[in-house]
Amino acid sequence: WKELSGCQKVTRMECDFSSAITEYYDTHHVRIRAERREEVSPWSSIFEMIPYCIAQIGPPEIELQSTNGVIKIKVSPPEAKMWINPLNFKYNLVIWENSSSAEFRSLSIFPTDIIDDLAPDTTYCLKVQATIPLDLKEGLFSPIHCVKTTHKAVNDLVCATNVSIFALNMKFHLHWNNQYKQHVSYNVQYLMGYLKKLYDDYSMKWLNVPRCENITDTQCNFSSIITATSGFYYLRVQTMSEYNKSCLSDEVKVDPLITNEIGPPDVKLDISDVLLHIQISPPGASESDFMRDYYEFSYRILYWKNSSNNEEEIKMKEIKQTIGTVSDLTPSTLYCVKVQAFSELYNKSSHYSKEECIKTPGDKILPLIILATFITALIAVCLVATTLVFALYQAYSKIKYVFFPSCQPPLNIEHFGGQLFSSPYLPTAEELIENCSIIETIITEEVNQIDFKDYKHSKQSSRDSGNYSNDDDTSGSKVSGERVEKEIV
């Protein structure tokens, strides 16, 4: 507990301890007791407070200037160390006509502002309070100031009127009218929005829009000064007539992403057998992906069958991607599509694109024809190939047979001499004579062998299994029989 300076030995029932407060955001506890000579009362209950919260905002200072049918006002913030951020203040102006049946009008103003839409040659009274909206604080009103408006100068005939903005796909154009068309040139100026919030005089901070200086056309393309996320701007037109007279038009406010209109997207259609593919190019895609990034487009697709009787219902589909597909199509029909881009984020939508139409292919005949043709071709190729291979094989085997024979003559005529087998088709009369005598002896022995063969066969027929082992035995004996014959020869 410390002594509160400014509240020591006070005789009145109030004291000022402002100087003792330095920490505006800390909780302070205050207690008080009474003293009389040597006696002291007990301490009162503790009074808890946070300086910032209980402090009231004082009245602001205002300067007024009445010119040209409007009232120019300049507000200075209430001075206090407590209010470290004077830009926190939002000023609330209350204005009324100084007549009996006066209506109070309340509006929010900037520190330097102009109050127009007032009747000329009338006395108005006004008062201003500073508020901190975030802290729900409302300050005290300034004293009431009354001022009389002047009449509007004739000069205003020169001024540009109907200043309006046309913005499509982030291309911004300013248009205005002027009754007085002779010998005038225009200067379009812009001001960054935040400058109005500051207490400094911003009248010198208006800048000329490039390529819109000293022009005679009543329109200006000011896209060059706009960058999407750099907040909003004010625009005005300065008209300069001969004799160096100039006049400033009303201001218009441009909030790029909000003022901008979204153009329709580009649509390309593609059809496969059962699906219609819709390719969408987002609006403004040709220049940059910028709009797409900020608006986060979704697309609304309308599609319908374009037949002679216009009773076909229009179907709708919403997608987030840039490719949409439509299924359940009827063949040989003309389908038409149009697409709209919309941004849920900014609650904006474009116009519908141009209609694009495409016809679905016919029935399944064409694919069948293709299939049939393919199969036929396949078969034909196979046939040709097979024939070719077969012919080649035949030729090969014939050639091999003629020029490279592989068969061996029987063993019993082998010893007739080598020259016999060099050309088997040539007649060999001499060897025949010798053969006669040998054949005779062989025949007599063969008769016995035939018996053996018959026996062998009968043996085979009577038995089903184990033939081979038995056969080997018999054939073995047979061979030995043959060998015996040979020796005799």
Partner: protein
């Protein structure tokens, strides 16, 4: 008496609140995300890398991070607006000694101000008793910015004090960026 006065104040504000045009208050966080990203880029573009010689003077300001706890949306939105307002104020002061890129600074301020305006319209509408309960964190926030303000004044807005403040504000924006993604 103090409480009554406070209640009257609140009552007056609610009474005097004029009809505000319907802004996309629901979509504000989504819009904000892009703007904050852009603001961070501009903040970097404004000056060069943090100068080595200023490291000695670096102070710990202790930003009250709990104020951005994504508990209740409305409270966080109020906190974000307060932070934006303070940042806007800091950068509106005499920055000539910092020798920053003037265009980047202007665009940064303009973007920030647009956000403040949008938030104001959305937040003020809904403020009721929420404000009272979470006042402690908001006061800590005000203290934090007061510290930075005093720091700048003490150093007479020299280059190092500006660079330190810029780094600090960058941190604030990054924290906001994180929170806004969750909103």
């Amino acid at each position: 008496i103090m409480n009554a006065l406070g209640l009257i104040q609140i009552g007056l504000v609610l009474l005097c609140t004029t009809t505000i045009s319907s802004l996309q208050c629901n979509h504000l966080p989504l819009q904000q995300r892009k703007v904050i990203k852009n603001s961070l880029q501009l903040l970097d573009k404004m000056g060069k890398k943090f100068p080595r010689q200023c490291l000695r003077e670096k102070m710990s300001f202790r930003f009250p991070e709990q104020v951005l706890n994504p508990g209740q949306k409305e409270i966080v939105k109020v906190a974000i607006e307060e932070i934006f307002q303070h940042i806007f104020y800091i950068f509106s002061k005499n920055v000539t000694l910092a020798a920053w890129n003037g265009i980047a600074l202007e665009q940064f301020q303009n973007g920030l101000y647009q956000q403040i305006e949008q938030l104001e319209a959305c937040v003020v509408k809904k403020q009721t008793h929420y404000f009272q309960s979470k006042e402690v964190n908001r006061l800590k926030l005000k203290k934090y910015f007061q510290k930075i303000d005093c720091f700048l004044k003490d150093k007479q807005h020299n280059l190092c004090s500006w660079e330190i403040s810029r780094a600090e504000m960058r941190r604030c924006l990054q924290l906001i960026d994180k929170v806004v993604r969750k909103l």
